[in-house]
Amino acid sequence: MTLWGGLIRTLLCPGFLSALLVGLLCRGLTAWLGAKLGRRPASPAWQPFADLFYLARKDPWDGAGLAAARAGWPALLAVVALALATGRLPWPEKWPPVPAELPGDLLLYLLLLAAPALARLAAAGLSTSPMVALGARRQAPIEIARLLPLFLAAAALPLASRQLGMVQEAAPTPLRALAAMLAAGVFLSTLPWPLWDRDEYGSMLAGLGGRPLALFRMVEALELSAQMGLVAVALQASSLLPAGREGWAPAVALIGTIVVLTVLEQRGQRLPMAAAVRRYTRWLLPIALAISVLGWLAGR
């Protein structure tokens, strides 16, 4: 298969399309549920779809000239990276064309998960606006701080099972199950949505309007789905799901994600920047380190 053939197949693969749909629906459902629980008027659950389609029809902001057009490229690359990542997920089962598993799938997946943060920072770097530069400078530490515990906790999975594939097939032990469950908890705690609700995030993308912004909205939905996929991988690795029901892992991950994000949405509290970074570095990072040590002990 040629490179272009592979790319087209990945973009048309149900893994990518379902990731986009699930990501958008998850955002809409969470906002709707949070508003209903808080007894507020709610936007419908399909609001993100309407927003995305509308933004995609709008002209890009031409006031920035070439800078706005260039800023669309990092977003496009992030979409392709996340399409490749979500295409590696072993779900939906028995629905061709599910790609064959490669030995280093999990590593590839984790590397591709960093693409959205890099794309946002690259797009901000291409802008000449001081507002965008300020937003990026303030948002960059939190973007990086979120990825550190995520990667460290993800290391527990291959350390415990001695496998780098997306499907962890090692024989389950209590220690391995515990490490995988705790890793799933860290993945849920580092979901990217709270970052997007910040003023710094809006400021970082302030130079983008219309179609380039629609691409970044698409990246957000895919990023959410990709992290949900990682939660599902950890749940499957924990072997706690009933035998023969491993396919439930993505559904459980989706429910867990909706619950976590609804709680955050309902609380509606935005931590100050320093406190938000501290939450990742001072609390989640040591926990993730402990989980990876636990995974290493489980795999010995």
């Binding site: 709008k58 006031g63 809006g202 302030a206």
Partner: protein, 140 residues
């Protein structure tokens, strides 16, 4: 407040620009739009950057030097966009081809939400190559 005015439509991003005046309009507009409770249910949200906006909300009066700045700022709004001018002290329209005005000192919150949607509809009607809306058209 809990009306279902914009259900199922795309979100209307509003960028608020404060002119010169008593700031009553600004306070009223912020009170109704800045919370995520009332306006979010009708898919109307305040945005922090003009490039993210679909509607320019002008409050107060804009003398010539300020008007030039606002007109320069409006170039950052991606097409198509609409403009709503709040307050009795608005004066001449800054964007005669797409500006809708809402009188009142200050206009009430329900009126502001209605006017945002009315301005939005005007924008949609003005998009095809038809007759442009009348200059400074007032929302009843």
């Amino acid at each position: 407040m809990a009306r279902r005015g914009a259900r199922g439509r795309a979100r209307i991003g509003v960028y608020l620009v404060e002119g010169i005046g008593c700031s009553g309009c600004v306070l009223e507009a912020r009170a109704v739009l800045a919370t995520r409770y009332a306006a979010a249910g009708q898919a109307i949200v305040l945005v922090g950057a003009p490039a993210h906006a679909d509607l320019l909300l002008l409050c107060g009066t804009f003398p010539a030097p300020l008007a030039e700045e606002v007109q320069a700022l409006a170039q950052a709004l991606p097409e198509p966009w609409a403009c709503l001018h709040l307050g009795d002290c608005g004066g001449a329209a800054l964007f005669p081809d797409r500006e809708v005005s809402l009188p009142g000192c200050p206009p009430g919150p329900e009126g502001i939400l209605d006017a945002v949607r009315a301005a939005w509809r005007t924008r949609q009607k003005a998009k095809p190559a038809g007759p442009a809306p009348a200059s400074g058209e007032e929302v009843p």
